[in-house]
Amino acid sequence: MPQKTPRKPGAAKPRAKSKPKPTDIAVDLDPSQRPGVPMETAPQPLAGARVPIASQHADVPVYKHAGRKQMPPVFGTAQPPRGLSGLLRRAAYAKPDHHPGHWVLLLLADRVDVWEHRVKRSLPWAAPSAVVLAAGLMWRARRA
């Protein structure tokens, strides 16, 4: 048990400076009554748990990092990888997650992903604008 910091003789009791409500004081003083003590318990399945766990199927690519042998039975399928950012993510997940390169590639992929979406969002107005601009430049070149 850690030793408490002793108070200076004659000093005001610290509790007087920050007095909690009476109902709050030390109701969970006994560590054995706290839900997380000990943090690691004797093994037993949680209430409601079901085995074996069926394996989820996905119709989109889902990556696992190279440090894992198998896909877990359950995973998210939101925002499947695509485009250049998807290729970068695939390269990242080819490395185990304890390799810094795994994380560096993912951060890079995130930035590329943002730019891909910005370009995609701008296409409805950028593409016609580019056509008009190109046509204008060609017309001007022919006149000259």
Binding site: D24, I25, L29, G36, P45, D97
Partner: protein, 383 residues
């Protein structure tokens, strides 16, 4: 359905998305009634968590009503009101069986750093979150807890994350009665860590932050002493002096990777990305806690590394404890505290928004405007 989506660093919007569906026989789909914005959502918003994809829906603190039930779900039925832990836990793996549901190995293919988490990037499994009208909830017989009749959703909403996280933070401090405890960060998790420290019998609790309104709130909500670290010069020396020149028995880091207080760490971690955010508070904890003391870390830090003075920790004989909260195991105990009036989690809600105004809520919360402590979204209105 309507859902908040990530559009790149500092940009979110609400847009139309396909409804979630049952993808596994142990899934349910929930109609979301309340969804909190967490401080750790700001790390996603600010582009600090790797593999946060454009289109991702954030949100790992939510309550809802069961809308659709998978074939193997036996404990829940359509219409049940539930609060959902932020960790996605199978209940049967090596870690879940030992109570470490925050470390479940059956819900996250992307990395071994955490279990699956709702709306927290593909680094934690690639699940969409609850800042939406509907959300998919896997392992529905294991995680969600039914909300008792007569209790409103907001009273139990924070059992999903920040209340168990704050409680576990105090628990990891190994308070056995009379200890001096310093909590860095007077945000929602820090506030609950302070309340929990009292519940465990702490002798003195001090909150450290730099936002006067948050310190004022901590004094009122948690009855703690407060220190504004921007007003005391050297915070480590100040805290040592406050506790007889030795420092406190326990330090709790309830801040995480976007800490103020060190320009060097902010440049290295947040600017240049040479470390995973700014570990300023861990550094302060190691330097100010007394020798042989305990440090509890529940602030979120990203992979792959941070610069912290581990040699000092070794030489001072410190115990460092940390983990994502094993939320599910705390829910019944903390529900009892709520029902008996020992903790009023709802009291920290300062702002409520309809889902369509979620980007405004993020701006307000991120910029600490208008005395904001906690924002809650109401995807289906006040119902």
């Amino acid at each position: 359905m309507r859902a908040l989506t990530y559009q790149g660093p500092y940009r979110v919007q609400v847009e139309q998305k396909p409804d979630p569906r049952i993808e596994h026989p142990q899934d349910v789909v929930l109609k979301v009634t309340r969804s909190g914005i967490c401080g750790s959502d700001l790390h996603l918003l600010h582009g600090l968590v790797p593999d946060t994809r454009v289109g991702c829906t954030f949100g790992h603190e939510f309550t809802g009503v069961v809308e659709e039930v998978g074939g193997e779900v036996s404990q829940l039925k359509k219409g049940d009101r539930v609060v959902v832990p932020f960790n996605i836990s199978c209940g049967t793996c090596f870690y879940c069986q030992r109570g470490l549901t925050g470390n479940c190995e059956n819900s996250n293919p992307g990395s071994d750093v955490a279990s699956g988490v709702y709306g927290y990037s593909h680094t934690t499994g690639g699940f969409d979150g609850g800042q939406a009208e509907y959300v998919r909830v896997p392992f529905a017989d294991v995680g969600p807890m039914k909300i008792p009749d007569g209790m409103d959703d907001e009273s139990v909403l924070f059992l999903s994350d920040i209340l168990p996280t704050g409680y576990q933070a105090a628990e990891m401090g190994e308070i056995k009665g009379g200890e001096t405890v310093v909590v860095f960060g007077a945000g929602p998790v820090g506030l609950f860590a302070m309340k929990s420290a009292w519940l465990m019998g702490a002798g003195r609790v001090v909150a450290v932050d730099h936002l006067p309104y948050r310190l004022e709130f901590a004094r009122r909500f948690a009855n703690v002493e407060t220190v504004d670290f921007k007003r005391v010069g050297d915070i480590v020396l100040h805290l040592k002096e406050l506790f007889e020149g030795r420092g406190p028995d326990v330090c709790i880091d309830a801040v995480g990777m976007e800490a103020e207080g060190s320009r060097a760490h902010r440049v290295l971690g947040l600017g240049l990305k040479l470390e995973a955010g700014a570990p300023t508070v861990i550094q302060w904890c190691i330097n100010c806690v007394r020798k042989g003391g305990n440090i509890s870390i529940i602030g979120v830090y990203g992979p792959p590394w941070n610069f912290i003075p581990i040699g000092t920790a070794m030489n001072k004989g410190l115990t460092l404890r940390m983990n994502q909260a094993n939320t599910r195991r705390y829910m019944p105990h903390l529900l009892e505290h709520i029902q008996k009036g020992r903790i009023d989690p709802k009291a920290i809600i300062t702002h409520r928004f309809p889902l369509e105004e979620a980007p405004d809520a993020y701006e307000l919360f991120s910029d600490k405007q208008d005395g904001c402590i906690k924002c809650v979204l109401m995807p289906h209105g006040h119902a």
